[in-house]
Every structure is written in structure tokens, then in C-alpha cells.
């Protein structure tokens, strides 16, 4: 070996993968956070439904906890199930 790599330190950034830029519930950017949080990122994560719509977890939980008979996706009105 002419050069031998001892150690490597990489730098990477992450972003949410989402079809839209904004959360359909709070209308804030996915890169930002829901209205109740101060900092975007791990504290205010996104969740995806099986219908492929995605929201801030705080926003969809608020929606699902509101009194309603069946839990529907607020956008497409299909049954809301979390995507694994």
C-alpha cells in the first residue's frame, strides 16, 4: 500500500423526506417545527401514514385525539394508520 487510510471522519446532513414542503395541519415547513415546539429536528419529528401523507407527529396526534368517530387522514379521508 502506498497510502494507508488510518481514520476517516465524514460529515453528513439529514433532511426529512416528504412530498410537500409544509405540514398539512399546521402549515409550517417540515424543516421547521410544529407550532408548539421551539426547535426543529429530533424533538419535533415527522410521521407518515399508510396513505403516504405525512405530518409533524404533534400535529397528527392532536388531530387524532380530537373527538371523532373514526380516525381519518385529514387530507385524503382514508383510515389513518401509521406506516411502519
Amino acid at each position: 500500500m502506498k497510502v494507508n487510510i488510518k481514520s476517516w471522519r465524514g460529515v453528513a446532513v439529514w433532511k426529512w423526506i416528504a412530498k410537500d414542503d409544509n405540514c398539512g395541519i399546521c402549515r409550517n415547513a417540515f424543516d421547521g417545527c410544529c407550532t408548539d415546539c421551539k426547535m426543529p429536528g429530533d424533538e419535533c419529528p415527522l410521521v407518515w401514514g399508510q396513505c403516504s401523507h405525512c405530518f409533524h407527529i404533534h400535529c397528527i396526534m392532536k388531530w387524532l385525539n380530537s373527538p371523532q368517530v373514526v380516525q381519518l387522514c385529514p387530507i385524503c379521508r382514508q383510515d389513518w394508520k401509521f406506516k411502519e
Binding site: M1, K2, V3, N4, I5, K6, S7, W8, R9, G10, V11, A12, V13, W14, K15, W16, I17, A18, D31, G32, K38, M39, P40, G41, D42, P45, L46, V47, W48, C54
Partner: protein, 770 residues
């Protein structure tokens, strides 16, 4: 003796009592038996059957006292006519009378307690003032004092006071005075009225003594001041005046009633200081500029009590502070402007703070002056078009402290320096500019592992948080936690690799995973790049691992920021070099050959032409690669080995064509066994441009901040006048920066265009559109 009321012959009893009183009031000896008998005589007269005589007893006693006092008065007058000293005579008689009347008061205890106290007016009646106090019956002791006042003091007052004033004048000149006499006489003025509870009842003392005394004092010190002014210069004058004030205060403590003390010093200050303010003020500037501490301290002591007088000194001090502050930071040059800027300022600040503590007793007004001067100096712009550099310089200063250097530094020392830099930070108007610069530099330190210690980093962030609030530092905190999370992540990754039986090729593999929004990283700078195979698999593995750990996240590698440590084995000796990934990728290509063309390298690495040639130039500079045309001789190698530490690389000095052949320098030598290949600035960003970029991004942020503030305010208020709105916006922004009014106006305009606001029909008013 019996307590039962019996019949009494008033005249007989009174005559007995009277002869005893004559001894009591002169403090002559009265034996115990006689005293007891007279005591019960008083009782008997008061309760006698069938007719009690308290009224008669009171009247007779009153007459007795009046006669006695009048007699004393004429005796004194007689002796004075024969040349005796009035003050001394009066004082002696007073001492006897004062005690005598006390004893008499005791003898009349029954009358006092049973008859007179009950007739006394209560406090409330006195307060509401419908009772005429002259009519009131007094206890015997009080009665005695009031007649002393009426028949003695009031008759002698003019002469007494004149003599007292002479005595004071003598005392001031340092001549011996009979202290106890002066004290006693003045005390008698107070005492004859002391039984009256209310403050305003010191009328006698005030009228006959205090007023003429203050007048005389005023005249004396007015003369004294002109005498001193003629004789001395300003600093001597102040000395003398302070001496005079001190001794006059002492004198008033010694002789006067407590209520007069402040009046005396007021009079003295007015005559010697307030009336000569112009003279004193004229000297202020000279003293401030020469920082003659003693004079300034004296000046402070003199001016402080007379309210507005100090203002002139304060403003002179502020001017002076501003001047030396500006001097300290103007014409800075050299490598380390940031360092000299901050340290010079801090030195000036410390000196002035000391001066204020020592000379001006840490007076609030002077601290305020220092604050104003500092904030003027720190936010001073030489040219209104150029943004103020203070925020940037301070951030650079912090960076220089927190960055690892070859010098070993004491962590405590760093912390202390950081703590002091907060002093300057607090004065900076453009805190957001500081934040931008600081975040950039912090990002660099964290990514390149250049921090001197994580503890110091954290404590600085906490200090900023304390000074400016949670929101100000939230991004900095975020960056900090990203680094911590990454460390955990790397641990779990290596465990995952073990489980999945994925090797890492013997490389110490480590990745910082950062959250895109929180880091001030310019991502557009990364160029297409193909990872060397040896690392590619590990990177892919990491991505798989990351996607399993976190859902819905897209990972992007920033290879221009990644670095590695490489062992160089192709030369005679082995070296350990740290370098960026791009260099490594280039060097790895030479594994099976010693010569490659520019084009071949570009094909394999996928780097842009521009970027690649910069990297290659650097490697040629370092003599790791050679060009065919450049002949190697050892002398140049040694000379240029200083380049390893190299200042700024000078890329593009080699004319690299696609066909240019590059050779691996198998004869590479370096003085050091460990060295670093400097990263290439991708876009040739000079410091100047970086500053400009930062300022323009700060401007963008400010606009958003101001617009958000306007919307918040208008949402709450619905409608608002223009000026009021601007004021509130400025208040909200105060903690981050000082917005210019045109900027606020522009933001309001923009919001009207975006239909958040509209103008109402009344002038200069906006309303919120829901």
C-alpha cells in the same frame, strides 16, 4: 399616715410645702422625712374633704414658679451688669433649675397623675388642632420648663444668641471655647419644648437660635469661600473646602440638635460649592483628561450632594471615556486585530471601572456614563456605509480562544477571558451579526474537531444564553447536541457492523450527522465526487444503518468537509498526514502506478475541473506530486517544507491541462513525521467576501424578524399608529440588533403588499387583515 381623705387647711399646708419647694428648686438638702411629708401633703390637698384643692394647689405652684424664675432672671441681669459672663451665668442657673424642676415634678406626682394628665389633650385632639395648646394644663415639670422659656429665655434670647454666635465664630477660628456651656445653652432651648411631642414644636429653638445661626453660618462661609478662592488654585480650594465642611459637620454634631445637621451642611455646600460651580466646572475637563484621581475624588465629593452639579463632571467623564476607547481601537493593524481589539477595549474598560470604583465610589451616574461611552465606542462606525466590525472581531476573538493551538493553554484562563468578552458582547448592538459569525466559527471548530475543550465551548454558549436568552443560542445548542448524538450513533453503528459482519477495512470510521437547518453550512459548494472504493462500502453501510434507525430522513454526505488521516508509505520514511477526503481520493489513485494524467484523475474522482486543479496544485506545492516539467532538486524541497504549515495556498499557479502528467514523488521528504495538508477554499472565499456574505444573510434574517414582529404586534393590536408601531418593533428587536427606521418602514410596506396589513382611513394608521 392615712390615705383616707381628711379635712385640710389649705393655707397651712401650702405654706409648709412652699418652704420645702424653695429648697428643692435650688437643689438644697431636703431630708427624707420632710420629702415624704410634703409628698403626702400634696396628696391630702388633692383629696381633701369636704373641698379638695387641686385647682388652688396648681395655681399657687404656678405663681411660685413664676416668681422664682423672675427672681433668677433679675439676679442674672444684675450679675451681668456687674460684668459677669451672661452665657456662663445662664448656664449655671439653668443646670440647677433643670434638675430642681425635675425633683419638684416628682414631688407633685399625685397631682400630675391624677388630675393634670387626665385634663391633657389626647394626641388626636392635638393632631386635629381644635384645641388651643396655650390653655392646656401642664404637669408641674412641664409647667416649670414653659415658664423658664417665657420669663427667662424669651427675655434674654437676643443677648444669648449673640453670644452663642460669637462663640461659634471663635470656634471656627480655632480659639478655645467653653464647649459644655455652649452645648448646655443650646440644649436648654430644645429642652424647654422637648415635652411637646410634635416636631414642629421645636419652634423656639428654630426661631431664636437656628435661623440666625444658619444666617451667620452662610455669611461666614460666603466670606470664607471668597477668601480661599483668592488664595488657592482649584485643587487646593477643594481640599480646603472639604476640610471646612468636615469640621463644620463635626461642630454641628457636637452642639446642635439633630434636625439642624443636614441644614448646616446644606448651607455650607451652597456657599462654598454651589455658588462657585462655574469655577469648579471649568477645571473638570483638565482633571478628567489627566485622570488626577485625588482631585477627581474631591470634585466628586463636593459636587455629589448638590444634585445637578455633578452632571457636568459625568459628561466630561463620558467624553473622556469615549475618547480613550476610540483611541484604543483605532489604527489596529497586524495579524491579530481581533485580539488587540478585544484586549485593548477590555483593558480600557477595566481601568475606567477601577477609576469609577476608587474615585467615584461606584456611583450609578458614572457607571451609566461608562456604559454609554462603551456602547458608543463599540458600535462606532468610521464610515456609515461600512458595517461595524465589532461583532465580527469579538466572534473571531472567541474563536481564537476556543480553537486548538500548538500552545497549551490553561482552561481556567480561557474561561476567564471568555467571561470578560461577554462584557463587550453586552454592549454590541448587532448581536445577531455576532451570532452569525460565532455560529460559523463554532461549526468549523466542531466539524474539524478543533475545539480546545468541549467544556469551554459549552460554558461560552451558556454565558451567551445568560446574556441574551434561550432563543439566541438555540442553534448553537443544537449544533452541540448534534455532535454528541453523532458520537452515540457511531458507537451503535460499529456494533451494528459487528452484528451484520460488515468490516470497515481497518479504518477508524466516524461520521458527524448534522441536522440541515441548524448548521451554517454552504451545501451548494459540494461538487460531484465518487468515493474511493475502500470507503464507499462503509458509507453505504452507514446509510443503510441510518435509515433503519431513523425513518423518513434523507442523508447527504458533505465530502468537502470530511477529513481523514493517512499514512504515507511510498516515500523512504513513513509519514502521518491529515487531509481532506478529496486529497485522499487523489492519492489513492496512485496505488498501482506512479504517474497519472489530469484527465485520468478527473475521470476517477469526478471532481470538477476547477476544484481538482486547486487540489492538485496544493499537492504539487507540498511536493507530494510532481509535474514532469518541474525538476526536483533537494534544496527546493527543503526550502518549501515550510509550506507544510503553509500560509494560504496559492492555487492555479500551475498550468494544468487535461493531458498534464502528474507523478507521485517517491522521494518525498518532510521535516515532520506528522503534518497536515491544508484544505482548499472551494470558492475562493476571501475573508472579506465571507464578511460580506454574513452581513447580507444577517440583513435577510433581520427583515424576516422585523416582519414577524410587525405581524405579531398588529395581530394583537388590530390597529395602530405608525410611530407607535415602529417604537414597539424597535423595542422587540432591541435584544438582537438596532433596526434602522427605513428598514422597519420597508418591512411594513412589504407586509401591506402581502396583504397582512392595510392603511386605514385615518392618517398614519395601519390595521391588521385577519
Amino acid at each position: 399616715m392615712t390615705l383616707r381623705p381628711v379635712e385640710v387647711d389649705f393655707n397651712e399646708s401650702w405654706n409648709r410645702l412652699r418652704s420645702t419647694l424653695e429648697s428643692v428648686i435650688l437643689l438644697n438638702n431636703v431630708n427624707k422625712k420632710e420629702w415624704n411629708e410634703r409628698f403626702s401633703d400634696v396628696y391630702k390637698m388633692c383629696v381633701a374633704k369636704p373641698n379638695p384643692y387641686p385647682e388652688e394647689l396648681y395655681e399657687e405652684t404656678k405663681k411660685f414658679i413664676i416668681t422664682h424664675v423672675q427672681k433668677l432672671h433679675s439676679q442674672i441681669c444684675l450679675r451681668v451688669q456687674m460684668g459677669d459672663n451672661l452665657l456662663v451665668n445662664y448656664y449655671q442657673e439653668w443646670l440647677v433649675y433643670r434638675d430642681g424642676i425635675q425633683f419638684m415634678d416628682k414631688l407633685y406626682m399625685y397631682l400630675n397623675n391624677q388630675h393634670l394628665k387626665k385634663m391633657k389633650l389626647g394626641d388626636s385632639e392635638l393632631n386635629y388642632g381644635y384645641a388651643d395648646t396655650e390653655d392646656q394644663k401642664l404637669e408641674i415639670g412641664e409647667l416649670g420648663l414653659s415658664y423658664w422659656r417665657k420669663y427667662m429665655i424669651e427675655r434674654l434670647s437676643d443677648d444669648l444668641v449673640n453670644l452663642l454666635l460669637q462663640a461659634f465664630e471663635n470656634d471656627r477660628l480655632g480659639n478655645p471655647t467653653n464647649e459644655s456651656v455652649v452645648q448646655g445653652v443650646i440644649e436648654s432651648f430644645v429642652m424647654v419644648e422637648a415635652y411637646k411631642k410634635k416636631e414642629k414644636d421645636l419652634n423656639l429653638y428654630r426661631e431664636i437660635f437656628e435661623t440666625p445661626f444658619l444666617e451667620a453660618t452662610r455669611k461666614y462661609y460666603s466670606r470664607e469661600a471668597s477668601k480661599l478662592l483668592a488664595q488657592y488654585d482649584c485643587s487646593q480650594y477643594m481640599e480646603k473646602v472639604l476640610q471646612r465642611l468636615d469640621s463644620e459637620i463635626l461642630r454641628s454634631r457636637k452642639y446642635l440638635h439633630v434636625s439642624s445637621h443636614s441644614k448646616v451642611s446644606e448651607v455650607c455646600e451652597e456657599e462654598m460649592v454651589a455658588k462657585h460651580l462655574d469655577f469648579l466646572h471649568a477645571e473638570c475637563q483638565r482633571m478628567v483628561v489627566s485622570e488626577s484621581r485625588k482631585d477627581l475624588h474631591n470634585m466628586f465629593k463636593l459636587l455629589k450632594p448638590i444634585g445637578p452639579g455633578i452632571q457636568h463632571l459625568v459628561s466630561e467623564v463620558q467624553k473622556h471615556f469615549t475618547k480613550i476607547g476610540l483611541d484604543a481601537i483605532s489604527n489596529l493593524s497586524g495579524d491579530n486585530i481581533a485580539n488587540s481589539f478585544v484586549e485593548n477595549l477590555l483593558e480600557v474598560y477595566r481601568k475606567q471601572r477601577d477609576l469609577i470604583n476608587d474615585v467615584f465610589n461606584s456611583d450609578q451616574q458614572f457607571i451609566g456614563a461608562l456604559d454609554k461611552a462603551c456602547s458608543y465606542v463599540i458600535n462606532y462606525r468610521v464610515n456609515s456605509k461600512v458595517p461595524c466590525r465589532s461583532a465580527e472581531l469579538l466572534a473571531r476573538y472567541c474563536d481564537s480562544l476556543l480553537k486548538k493551538t500548538s500552545k497549551s493553554v490553561n482552561e481556567f484562563e480561557i474561561d476567564e477571558k471568555l467571561r470578560r468578552s461577554i462584557t463587550i458582547f453586552k454592549y454590541i448592538d448587532d448581536k445577531d451579526v455576532f451570532q452569525k459569525f460565532y455560529a460559523k466559527m463554532l461549526a468549523k471548530r466542531l466539524i474539524h474537531c478543533q475545539s480546545v475543550s468541549m467544556d469551554s465551548e459549552e460554558s461560552m454558549i451558556n454565558k451567551l444564553k445568560q446574556a441574551c436568552g434561550h432563543e439566541f443560542t438555540s442553534k448553537l445548542h443544537r449544533m452541540f447536541t448534534d455532535i454528541k448524538i453523532s458520537n452515540d450513533l457511531n458507537d451503535s453503528f460499529s456494533e451494528w457492523c459487528k452484528k451484520e459482519k460488515q468490516g470497515l477495512g481497518g479504518i477508524n470510521f466516524n461520521i458527524f450527522v448534522l441536522q440541515a437547518g441548524a448548521w451554517p453550512l454552504a451545501q451548494n459548494l459540494s461538487s460531484p465526487f465518487s468515493m474511493p472504493h475502500i470507503l464507499e462500502k462503509s458509507c453505504c453501510n452507514f446509510e443503510t444503518f441510518y435509515n433503519k434507525t431513523y425513518h423518513g430522513r434523507k442523508l447527504t454526505f458533505l465530502h468537502h468537509l470530511s477529513t481523514c488521516e493517512v499514512k504515507i508509505c511510498f516515500s523512504k520514511k513513513t509519514y502521518l498526514a491529515s487531509m481532506s477526503t478529496y486529497y485522499m481520493a487523489i492519492l489513492l489513485l496512485f496505488e498501482n502506478t506512479d504517474q497519472l494524467s489530469f484527465k485520468e484523475i478527473q475521470m476517477s474522482t469526478n471532481l470538477t475541473e476547477d476544484l481538482l486543479s486547486k487540489h492538485l496544485s496544493m499537492l504539487i506545492d507540498m511536493k507530494i506530486l510532481t509535474l514532469d516539467s518541474v525538476l526536483l532538486d533537494n534544496s527546493t524541497v527543503n526550502k518549501s517544507s515550510s509550506n507544510e504549515e503553509g500560509s494560504s495556498p496559492t492555487p492555479m499557479k500551475y498550468n494544468l491541462e487535461p493531458e498534464t502528467q502528474l507523478n507521485l514523488n517517491l522521494n518525498f521528504v518532510s521535516k515532520r513525521t506528522r503534518f497536515k495538508i491544508l484544505a482548499v477554499n472551494q470558492k475562493e472565499v476571501t475573508q472579506h467576501q465571507e464578511v460580506e456574505q454574513t452581513h447580507s444573510s444577517v440583513d435577510e434574517d433581520r427583515k424576516l424578524f422585523l416582519q414577524a414582529a410587525v405581524v405579531r404586534i398588529m395581530k394583537a393590536r388590530k390597529a395602530m399608529k405608525h410611530n407607535q408601531l415602529i417604537q414597539e418593533v424597535i423595542d422587540q428587536a432591541k435584544n438582537r440588533f438596532a433596526p434602522s427606521i427605513p428598514m422597519v418602514k420597508k418591512c411594513i410596506e412589504a407586509l401591506i403588499e402581502k396583504q397582512y396589513l392595510e392603511r386605514t382611513s385615518s392618517q398614519d394608521e395601519y390595521s391588521y387583515i385577519a
